[in-house]
Symmetry: D2
Subunit: 289 residues, 4 copies
């Protein structure tokens, strides 16, 4: 593990960079200051990059739009790999017909639509259609009344033996410097323990996220895991997951892991990034246009 | 472990009977048919009895009133020992001043009122009073908006290092033959894992419930644990808890544990009641008035 | 929570002091320097004191002997309350006949001997006597071959549906400043997850330890929980358990919790002692003989 | 989910068959009777097949030899994909130099040897070489003294912040119809909870096992997940893992899941195979040579 002063020297060693989104590229206050220079440099150098995110609340197109509104046009939808995309792939492969019930916003629903399946919010499941429900998806913590719909979800799962997908494994996400919000991953764990059944989780640190990204690239050119580095702010998801998949990793200190806590947390958890770097910003002074 | 045909022969061996409430005396449909005869027999024989319940949603007086409305007048409030009473004792002993924030109905609040403390629902905590919050209590799953108030509870606990009491350890409770509802114990476990702090749980199988009942009796007469039998429908709470405290136990099959599943579940969990009995009903034919 | 400079000022507020043993009175190097003065002061002031320990490896008499060899004669066997004593009480109340199999040293065995029961190490269980095994006890990590006997214990529990007691809930214990040893509590958790059954645990933070001590005192005089303070070095056992039982608590910094980590750990776990004090030593200069 | 009488009709629908080893092809008594006919049929039909196993105790060559001794020559070492192979890949990618300490037999060691690394049993780690230990691997439950070496492993991990690999996630494995043995996965979980660090697990149900097999095939020909079926006897590993990776699955009843329990367990866990079949045997009468 090495402390590296400038992110540029890390980028220079790899061909492909995977970035976590929240805490690395953006925070609750907007973009990480200077991050647009990183993407300028990546494009100038002909490096590939992907955003690998546990965010299943919106489609890649909607997620890219949010970056564009901030002026970061380098992140296009085809650069975004989300846990929601794995959910969609699962439904395509494993659920042939009937209803897919979900908890989340209408926006989170659209991009999991799969041919032959009818996607409905849990609130629209009732005695006339419950026996057609063939999968239940936890997509987002917004968009439904928790008390009513979580109790309904429990009772759907007591009646139907069906796969349950958790499209975002995070337990909480930051709202501001002092506040967090319970994420759908935390809610899903509660329902899992109440019904006593085993859910399927997509999202870092699970390797399937990294494999999905890796496969997308391999479709058009051969690569080795040694050419890729994963950049993240969270030891338990970005760093553990990237490392387990065989990638080198960079812990940045602009998000979940504060500079003063980094060493303590690495020792306590045993999760060791290849590099630690203050941020994923390539300083303007570090390269010439 | 013995299968016993009539509950009367068990009662005859002990001086004091502890009953779980739900699944033993009442179900979602009302009283267990014939259960009033059990209490007639207990009174006739001069046996003592207590209801030992994880229900913290209402005070003993309110819980007793519900039995009276069903015609079961033998259960008076002084016969009821609830996990809410342990919460009250904890506040009396360990929290001197300030605000006790709670999640639950207004009825669940009143009986935890403790002198010197100001009891407020989480919904009334804000930036002007948050620094006076000295305890947070999970009382009941009803009476508050889950999304808003659970997120608020998380952020109170990120700001304040205070004891958190879970007054009901159950994860779910039955609403009808087919439906259950998430209980406050399940909700509290989710919040505990999101904030990463350790909560204090009162309620079976924790011994403190049994100790509280045991102490109440010992205040006016000497008893031994050998004179008491615990009657319950749930292996993980009533039977495990009673057994660990050193009491003999009876598993009845009118609630959570179905007759066809009893042996399998006992073998699977390793939790072994002293007796198994179809119900806690002492049949009219079994005793003469 | 208050930082207190001298332990004497805490002692002066209570009538009865409960002490954890390891990390409070002794360490792997012997007695905590000066601790004998604390017991002189307690005796001079007519305060009562008890050692409340998760050590089930030896009987109270043997534990007291160890203090006497160090010159601390104030700790007599009747002052020691161990998790092994709860195990003995459980066997007396709940296991009538047959064999009690145990993992531990021969010394740990003797004091759980209960009338009518035959106590045997797991190594002596075989096809001729396995069907008479009516309880299995995890007493100590020493005294048996781990690979052979732990595998045997698993297979006993697959054949017999019997209560399993874990007489020490600790997962590890310190051997020297840098080394720890896996404790029987950690081993028992592994076996529990392999066999999928629920074990009975005695030992702090479980309230039954505190209740046992409380009851011993009440046998000869009335007391209130407000008169007792629990002194310990471990947040998750001594402080959480004492607090939950309703006792005031003192965290001392001579054992598991280092001075530099105390505040961080209290905030991280949410377990808050009533007082923090460098050690349980009452300084000689603080009282006159 | 469909109950299928003859395994042949399942084989006919897919191009590639993944088999679990234990409980599907062999049991503690030797080969599953008739299983050689399945491999004859697969070869006759030009179907591909792989053994996907959590066994890291021996190399693929040694595992294949064991089948050959039973007369099953169809299983060659290049058909075997084990969790040990993922461990080897991890070391190649992520550990550059120093010592890899392991728990297991000498046979389990050889095939994780990686260039530039020195592989040593935990028993040979001491004060002169501990600071060069750069990874710790849990390979097998045999080949070391549990008490001495597990305590040593704990203290290595307290001193060194290094990746820890668990090469077999199973908690137990069957020895005979009535007996099981604790597996290295169960032991590793105990050490993980004692040291409080996060270990890396390879082995089903983790997707990385399936991905590894999938990638091996794709190196020489294009395939889709829809062409593959996973055959296993264990819901929590084979079926859950295969299903999550997007494969169709067959639960066979020759191993961990007994015919009488299959429906109950599927409902209880919510893990649903695509098919249930008595065994993986293609009956001789079902095809002509």
């Amino acid at each position: 593990m090495k402390r590296i002063d400038n992110f540029k020297s890390i980028v220079d060693k790899y061909d492909i960079i995977f970035f976590d989104a929240f805490g690395v590229i953006k925070t609750y206050q907007g973009l990480v200051p200077g991050i647009e220079k990183t993407f300028e440099y990546l494009q100038q150098q002909g490096k590939e990059y992907y955003i690998v995110t546990n965010d299943a609340s919106r489609s890649p197109v909607q997620l890219a739009d949010a970056y564009h509104r901030y002026g970061l046009t380098a992140i296009t939808s085809d650069r975004i790999i989300s846990s929601g995309m794995l959910t969609k792939e699962y439904l395509d492969l494993q659920v042939q017909d009937g209803i897919v019930a979900y908890l989340g916003t209408p926006e989170s629903q659209h991009y999991i639509d799969s041919s032959g399946l009818h996607t409905l919010p849990v609130s629209e499941i009732n005695s006339t259609n419950i026996d057609k429900v063939n999968a239940l998806i936890f997509l987002d913590d917004e968009g439904f009344d928790w008390q009513t719909e979580l109790n309904k979800a429990v009772n759907i799962l007591r009646r139907r033996t069906i796969p349950v997908i958790v499209a975002n494994t995070d337990r909480a996400y930051p709202l501001s410097v002092n506040e967090v919000s319970i994420a759908i991953g935390g809610i899903a764990s509660m329902i899992e323990s109440v019904v006593g059944k085993q859910f399927i989780r997509f999202g870092k640190p699970d390797s399937q996220m990294f494999m999905f990204a890796f496969d997308l690239i391999r479709e058009y050119r051969p690569i080795s895991k040694k050419q890729i580095v994963m950049v993240g702010d969270t030891l338990q998801t970005d760093i553990l997951g990237g490392n387990k998949f065989g990638l080198d990793t960079v812990l940045v200190l602009t998000g979940n892991t504060l500079s003063k806590d980094a060493d303590t947390r690495i020792t306590a958890t045993g999760i060791m990034p290849t590099y630690i770097c203050d941020s994923a910003v390539v300083d303007a002074g570090e390269f010439s246009f």
